[in-house]
Symmetry: C2
């Protein structure tokens, strides 16, 4: 059954995914004489780099997401549909979705990635993840509930289990989450739970590679490691998680951690939609695209952002999975689609690397620019400034600023709330 969408004689561009890439592309196609169908399973854009702040009670969920309809309310040629895409049918130029079939002239896949557990079913079943707002809210619930539960017992082993937090993955998300947990331990939670002995709260970071923040500079890695170790966070490098049954996580170095809180930030895999030729799929489920972001072996299908990999000598594994890459690819694609429709030659993608930054804790961020690398309080202020600027929407910026300022000056987190339906509480 076809979806109920206004018919058009204009070419139709279907964009799957309202993340950084899809959103930027739909914005940039303004003025082009096409009908744009934007599809996302949520009715909002998620500012993913700040999910860890929701999970650690620093930001309100609603201030890092933004209504997609609101963004496009003055764009008559952008039609949004909240749906899941089930299959691509390139031979028919159609996609099958949870709300029906949609025809396309040009298809842009901007679906990003999903959490990858590398086949470890027990870890998948028992670890917490952090790729969406509901997941981040649930993580916030679970972190706080661990302490509520710890209050109910004097059993030392049970305290250890409930108050041990294991962050798997030492990339930016893992480091930022560990730093935020360290702050909760030192500054926030002891006031809430005076009955608990917070020397018993342990935080571990498990990283497969030889250093934290492997995609950043050596000095950034060193600085992050020192900062986390000052918070008495245990860092396990060159170490993998082998198994996790919900109580004990086993590491490849033989160590066993007794913990009910495992946060998995250690890997992603492309959120591939069935229907494309298997030859277009690279390891890690990324789509092989040419320099113009066209999916190989397909015509009129493009992929941008984390799901896409432009393989060159300089980028044998594709570009890093970062918002700036997705946004730059979206910008170029918006130009290339115009060129394509007017039969002009396309321009290849060239990544303008703006550097990277990660915040490790209060007053401390690491910043790698090309021309300078530094860390500390200046880095932290730059981090806050940059993230405020790129948050979509004035309201969200003000609310995030209020929260950050509040946290900063009060040494507190205002959002220590366990929000969930109570037992069999009825909703509807």
């Amino acid at each position: 059954m076809p979806v109920n969408i206004p018919t058009t004689s204009r070419p139709r561009v279907v964009i799957i995914g309202g993340g950084f890439g899809g959103l930027e592309l739909a914005k940039r196609l303004k003025g082009l004489d096409v009908q744009i169908i934007l599809i996302d399973k949520n009715n909002y854009h998620t500012f993913q780099p700040l999910l860890y702040q929701v999970a650690t009670a620093a930001l309100e969920p609603d201030s890092i997401i933004y209504s997609l309809r609101k963004i496009f309310k003055r764009r008559e040629n952008v039609i949004f549909r909240m749906a899941e895409v089930l299959r691509i049918k390139p031979e028919l130029k159609r996609i099958e979705t949870s709300i029906g079939e949609i025809f396309y002239d040009y298809l842009v896949i901007a679906v990003g990635t999903k959490t990858n557990f590398f086949g470890m079913r027990d870890v998948e079943r028992n670890a917490m993840r952090m790729k969406s707002v509901p997941q981040a809210m649930e993580l916030r619930n679970l972190i706080l509930e661990s302490f509520e539960k710890a209050l109910l017992t004097n059993d030392v082993q049970e305290h250890e289990r409930l108050m041990t937090f294991t962050v798997v993955g030492g990339g930016p998300t893992g480091v930022e989450t560990a730093g935020a947990l360290g702050e909760l331990k030192k500054i926030v939670l002891p006031k809430d739970y005076p009955e608990l002995d917070f020397r018993r709260m342990q935080i571990h970071v498990v990283e497969m590679n030889g250093r934290l923040l492997g995609t950043m500079s050596e000095s950034a890695s060193q600085s992050a490691k020192r900062f986390l170790e000052n918070f008495e966070i245990n860092i396990w490098l060159k170490t993998k998680v082998v198994s996790y049954d919900g109580n004990v996580v086993s590491l490849s170095n033989g160590k066993k951690l007794f913990t009910s809180n495992v946060i998995w930030t250690a890997g992603v895999t492309g959120a591939v939609i069935p229907g494309l030729k298997p030859e277009a799929l690279l390891p890690g489920n990324r789509l092989k695209v040419d320099a113009y972001n066209r999916v190989e072996f397909h015509s009129n299908i493009f992929a941008i952002g984390d799901i896409a990999a432009i393989i060159t000598e300089k980028t044998p594994k594709g570009h890093p999975m970062l918002a700036p890459v997705a946004i730059q690819q979206a910008r170029l694609l918006s130009q290339n689609l115009r060129r394509l429709m007017s039969n002009q030659p396309l321009k290849p993608f060239r990544y303008r690397d703006l550097g990277m930054m990660a915040t490790v804790g209060r007053n401390h961020a690491v910043v790698d620019f090309h021309w300078i690398k530094f860390h500390g309080i200046l880095g932290w202020f730059i981090w806050v400034f940059v993230h405020l600027m790129v948050l979509v929407g004035f309201r969200n910026r003000v609310v995030a600023l209020v929260n950050w300022a509040w946290n900063y000056f009060s040494y507190d987190r205002g959002l220590r709330l366990i929000i969930r339906p109570f037992k069999d509480e009825k909703f509807s």
Copy 2:
């Protein structure tokens, strides 16, 4: 099994419920040489009068709730436990909870009310309620999803079903909800859904009695009715809901409304905990208390707020279920507990009626003070001011102010977000 709580030689006051009454009492008992155990099934206080604003995308959920631990973090003699109370055992001076048994010297029941469907099972199954933050968030989801679904069809009857909203109950919550829906219809949603014909969106208010806002003045009722009717809201007075199967709501006047959105604000019943003598229970499940808020036929058990009814000639059905009543009873009880412990005579409750107010829409609130009754934009500013002042916590006040100012000046609602786990999205 007893709960793990620090033992004490001081008398123990157990307060069940962290609403307006329980919260105020725990605050006011400061300095008294007792151990206070505060129990709530949530770890936060909910500002219930603003739940309808969360449901209609005007306020963020996190800005109308406040961490209970945070409120009492500097009060060493207040111990908070997140738990459900299952039974009171007056003969043993114990309560049975989801986390174990707790002994009390003095017990204060401040559990409030829950939604009452008067035995109509089909309505209970199919209508939405609005007594907690998860319910209000779910209502927000469902309202927005109705429009997402309406987009998917051209069927006129299906549009009618999805775009018809029936608010049952014409008290403050019903009137405020209907007014907020009217604003969404006129100002906000047409921009989001240009494909839909919003003349088809119908809003109904069904009220059993002869006027809206029955507890307020006649002039307030008239003003609210006029204002809602200007928004083309249909008001059915002297009308009851007879049945609702999820698609059709039948009214006592024979009218049938085809609607998938029924919001039930028409009645509450005391959230009674088993174990008390049946003689202490009044119709509507309120607890019969004397002028000192002592539960009849029990010693050392008190009840305050909506669950308690002081029956006198002037108040044959008890006092109105309002936050100021709960707060004033809590203040008096904090003094009476001191008097009780020092064998002084207790003072009876006397309600100081501060008046009532309800907001009906943008720039329009009705205000009943003793000495003056008025409505319109001045009422609305007073409403905003009073509600800002009583919201707990500086951060919450600032965030609510940002949201209200944003809504006011932009004619918009920033929070049109459907937040829920996607299908089988894994949490933990």
